[in-house]
């Protein structure tokens, strides 16, 4: 099955790319944009059919490689 993961910077961690995107959007007259935080998206296909097992495996991957837990949070969708 496929498992989707989103990794984002923790609140309070400076995100200069998100900030640059936000300022650019503001400059393009999207004046409603208050804040942009940029993240990463992973689409992981595993040879496990049981959803619970698959997700727990992916959680291990998040902790060990996909996210840097000092500055990032992960969300398994």
């Amino acid at each position: 099955m496929k498992v989707k993961v989103i990794v984002t910077l923790k609140e309070g961690v400076l995100d200069p790319q998100g900030k640059a995107i936000q300022q650019t959007l503001n400059g393009m007259n999207f004046s409603d944009v208050k804040q942009v935080r940029q993240g990463k998206y992973f689409d992981i296909e595993v040879n496990i059919e049981d959803e619970k097992n698959a997700k727990s495996k992916v959680e291990e991957m998040c902790k060990k490689l996909l996210a840097n837990l000092v500055i990032e949070d992960y969300k398994i969708l």
């Binding site: 961690v13 400076l14 200069p16 790319q17 640059a20 490689l65 996909l66 840097n68 000092v70 500055i71």
Partner: protein, 227 residues
């Protein structure tokens, strides 16, 4: 005195480091990232570059390569390990050094000479070094050192801040902070001071024709301290 420089796909300061180490008497060997073990060494250097194209996060893929297990064992048994630039990023990703290196504050790749102040107190790296401030080169996109307040306090309490960006006379102020690093941190030690990670490149500064030879102080002193 034997040293090992590890080459990852995308390392590009490996040979400069080899030249620098040999210049001051180290018998250096180049070690491929996919080798099972480090040959007998007194010092391991993880060189600068862009291992694995900086995919995922700088240093994150290299930190899981085959050779790393023996680097971690070597470091945990007190062996001397230096990570320069991408090598510093790799050490952080292995968990051997705390904190993390974020993208530079102004999103620019910075390539220039800087002055850095050395913490000469305890480590084999800087003890007895003739100068307090060195002019070295930095070249990075992700060198903005970041850690939690508690972590920072623990770094300070254990005297682990190894190198700070500064002015020519050693002034550690925001004016001389090139990349947004907390407290101008350019390099740190682990608690035992056998591991150092730093963004500046001493190996690029070992000859006057390279705009400064302050890197000589580092390598010469290191060799003497290890002898």
């Amino acid at each position: 005195m034997k040293s090992s420089v590890i080459i990852f796909p995308g390392s590009n300061c490996d040979r400069d480091t080899d030249v620098a180490l040999k210049k001051f008497g180290f018998k250096n060997q180049m070690v491929w990232h996919n080798d099972p073990e480090i040959p007998k060494s007194d010092l391991i250097v993880l060189p600068g570059g862009f291992s694995y194209g900086d995919y995922l996060r700088c240093g994150s893929i290299a930190a899981k390569s085959r050779i790393i297990k023996s680097v971690i064992d070597f470091a945990n048994s007190g062996g001397l390990v230096i990570g320069i630039c991408n090598g510093f990023q790799i050490l952080i990703e292995t968990g051997l050094l705390p904190g993390t290196l974020l993208t530079n504050k102004y999103l620019k790749f910075i390539c220039k000479n800087v002055f850095v102040k050395l913490n000469k107190d305890e480590s084999k790296y800087f003890k007895n070094i003739k100068k307090n401030v060195l002019e070295l080169h930095i070249a990075h996109n992700d060198g903005n050192y970041f850690c939690s307040k508690d972590e920072l306090k623990s770094l300070e309490d254990n005297n682990q801040i190894a190198v700070n960006y500064c002015g020519q006379n050693g002034e550690v102020t925001e004016e001389f902070n090139p990349n947004g690093s907390i407290n101008n941190i350019a390099g740190i030690f682990n608690k035992n001071k056998n591991i150092i990670g730093m963004m500046p490149h001493p190996e690029r500064m070992i000859d006057k024709c390279l705009s400064s030879n302050d890197g000589n102080f580092f390598f010469e002193n290191l060799f003497k301290n290890l002898k």
